[in-house]
């Protein structure tokens, strides 16, 4: 099991222990507060992820073969999801990020309660992260 897979399993367990959707959303809002702040000048139109219903800014970098991202959103619940994605991917090898199968959203209540527009939007964020990781990885998948 990769580091990302193990982290996802832990996340899924953590969320399932929370109980109902309100508690899971409340937890996402708590997590949102832990997402490192992106300065207003960093939230440029060029960093907006296209296709998201909520506004999501993403600034990614590859360093020593590993993936790092800064992210922000105008929606706290989405910020919570960004925090989780950052926790899963930050500092991991680029090739591992590119090849990861992200399933914690489906395995918890998060995805089901987002509705199709937001689900698609989060999909765009994950795709942007994984495309960046793939493009910058020396180990091509």
């Amino acid at each position: 099991m990769s580091g990302i897979d193990a982290a996802q399993e832990a996340l899924i367990d953590e969320f399932q222990e929370l109980g109902d959707g309100f508690e899971q959303y409340a937890y996402l809002i708590e997590l949102a507060a832990m997402l490192p702040i992106m300065a207003p000048e960093e939230k440029t139109d060029g960093r907006l992820v296209r296709g998201c219903h909520s506004r999501v800014w993403l600034d990614m970098r590859a360093q020593d073969g590993r993936f790092y991202a800064m992210a922000d959103s105008d929606t706290l619940i989405i910020k919570g999801v960004l925090y989780l994605l950052k926790k899963l991917f930050d500092g991991r090898p680029l090739a591992e990020v590119a090849a990861a199968e992200v399933r914690f959203l489906e395995k918890t209540e998060i995805s089901a309660t987002f509705g199709p527009d937001r689900q698609k939007g989060i999909g765009y964020v994950i795709r942007a992260m994984q495309s960046f990781a793939a493009e910058n990885s020396v180990e091509k998948p």
């Binding site: 109902d20 959707g21 309100f22 959303y25 409340a26 809002i29 708590e30 949102a32 507060a33 219903h53 909520s54 105008d74 929606t75 706290l76 619940i77 309660t113």
Partner: protein
């Protein structure tokens, strides 16, 4: 214990809408999104089902029994609709797919025969996109100019600006009766005479006004009035364009095909009389039957009682929200009906509505198809509460309890 607002027996009324007793996310539903669409009473469902089960045949086409029955039933609804809004005759009632369809029909007809290069049309900053974008497009097609009446900080129309714009002799003023975001009731009884004095006809978007007060197109003296079935306990996909007879006769059809013609030749066709020249193709027959049942339901329940109950419920929501220190209510119009919108400080409208949804409280969030209005308040979205007569104070209290839980959540986060 607080006494509920009871101008009629609310428990009996609620039994007409079995969907009100369902639960969501394992919690009791408090449906406060009636500005988007209202629930449908059993009587309307039965009427729609009966149409499909026992009649179904197409209208204005056949001489057989079922076709004649369908035609008679649809035309009876046209007659009843005319009576409901006090139109001068049923010929002034055009069935459409809804308010959006009605306004698009009018805008298309205006751009094809009425509007010329350099003409002017007025609409407002307060409009639903459905009463703005069709006029933008009508002006683009015809070369006319679109003028906008802006709003005050209170969320009311700047009537001085309207007066100035009317001096340019516009060809039409298209305006909402009730704002779908702020609930502002525009003073049409003052606006329409001013517009008419300037020779300008008025189209009223009454989508949010129909449950607010008596709609009497002759007393109002409007030239056009549009509304949807699904905001007055009817089915989706059906609506009405009322047009003053002389206007409907003057306008050219906006869509063409079966049912709207008089005589067709391979080179040229002539069109039917009003209202049929505006109803190309097979109409939403079951929808129209459902609309008729909805109008009868509302009348039987008692229109004055409905208006009073909705007003009291909205006042109650306004008071409960106004007493909170953790949110900002949009606008403070002199008269508000149907809708009230707010934002919880420190939380996006999406977050707030999603959290409330998890507690069973259904409210709308987002731009409400009124982006220019929100930009006026430097916002991109808001949470909107739109009660209907079948709602209770308990359901509004559920909204407030939900807001309390959200507030506690935000306090913990801070």
């Amino acid at each position: 214990m607080r006494k509920d607002l009871s101008v009629f027996d609310i428990e009996t009324v609620r039994r007409d809408f079995p969907i009100l007793s369902r639960s969501v996310h394992g919690r009791k539903l408090a449906y406060l999104d009636n500005g988007a669409t209202t629930f449908v009473p059993e009587r309307v469902l039965a009427a729609v089902e009966e149409q499909y089960r026992s009649f179904q045949a197409n209208v204005h086409r056949g001489v057989h029994y079922l076709s004649e029955q369908s035609t008679e039933r649809v035309e009876r609804v046209r007659f009843e609709t005319a009576g409901f809004i006090n139109a001068n005759s049923p010929e002034e009632i055009v069935f459409t797919s809804g308010t959006t369809g009605s306004i698009n029909l009018a805008a298309r007809a205006f751009s094809d025969g009425i509007l010329q290069q350099g003409d002017r049309v007025i609409t407002t900053q307060m409009e639903h996109h459905s009463n703005l974008v069709p006029w933008q497009e009508a002006c683009r097609r015809s070369g006319a100019e679109l003028d906008i009446v802006h709003m005050t900080d209170e969320g009311e129309l700047d009537l001085n600006e309207l007066s100035r714009l009317l001096e340019k002799r516009p060809k039409l003023f298209a305006v909402a009766w009730v704002s779908n975001v702020l609930g502002t009731v525009n003073p049409l009884e003052r606006i329409i005479p001013i517009a008419h004095a300037a020779g300008c006809p008025v189209l009223v978007d009454a989508a949010q006004a129909m449950r607010h007060g008596c709609v009497d197109v002759q007393a109002l003296d409007c030239d056009f009035l549009c509304f949807s079935g699904h905001k007055i306990m009817g089915p989706t996909g059906v609506g009405v364009l009322y047009g003053r007879r002389e206007w409907l006769e003057r306008l050219t059809p906006a869509s063409f095909g079966g049912g709207m013609i008089d005589e067709v030749d391979t080179k040229k066709s002539t069109f039917a009389e009003i209202p049929f020249k505006f109803e190309a193709g097979t109409p939403n027959i079951a929808g129209i039957i459902g609309l008729g049942a909805a109008l009868r339901y509302l009348k039987d329940l008692g229109l004055p009682e409905i208006y009073a109950r909705e007003a009291e419920l909205l006042t109650y929501v306004g008071r409960m929200l106004g007493e909170r220190g953790d949110l900002d209510v949009l606008g403070s119009p002199a008269e508000r009906a149907g809708a009230i919108s707010f934002n919880v400080r420190g939380l996006s409208c999406y977050d707030a509505a999603k959290l409330l949804d998890q507690l069973g409280v259904a409210v709308r969030s987002g731009h409400h198809c009124a982006q220019p209005l929100l930009k006026r308040f430097s916002l991109t979205g808001a949470v909107r509460v739109t009660p209907a007569f079948y709602n209770t104070r308990e359901e509004i209290d559920a909204l407030c309890s939900g807001l309390d839980r959200i507030a506690a959540l935000l306090d913990n986060k801070r």
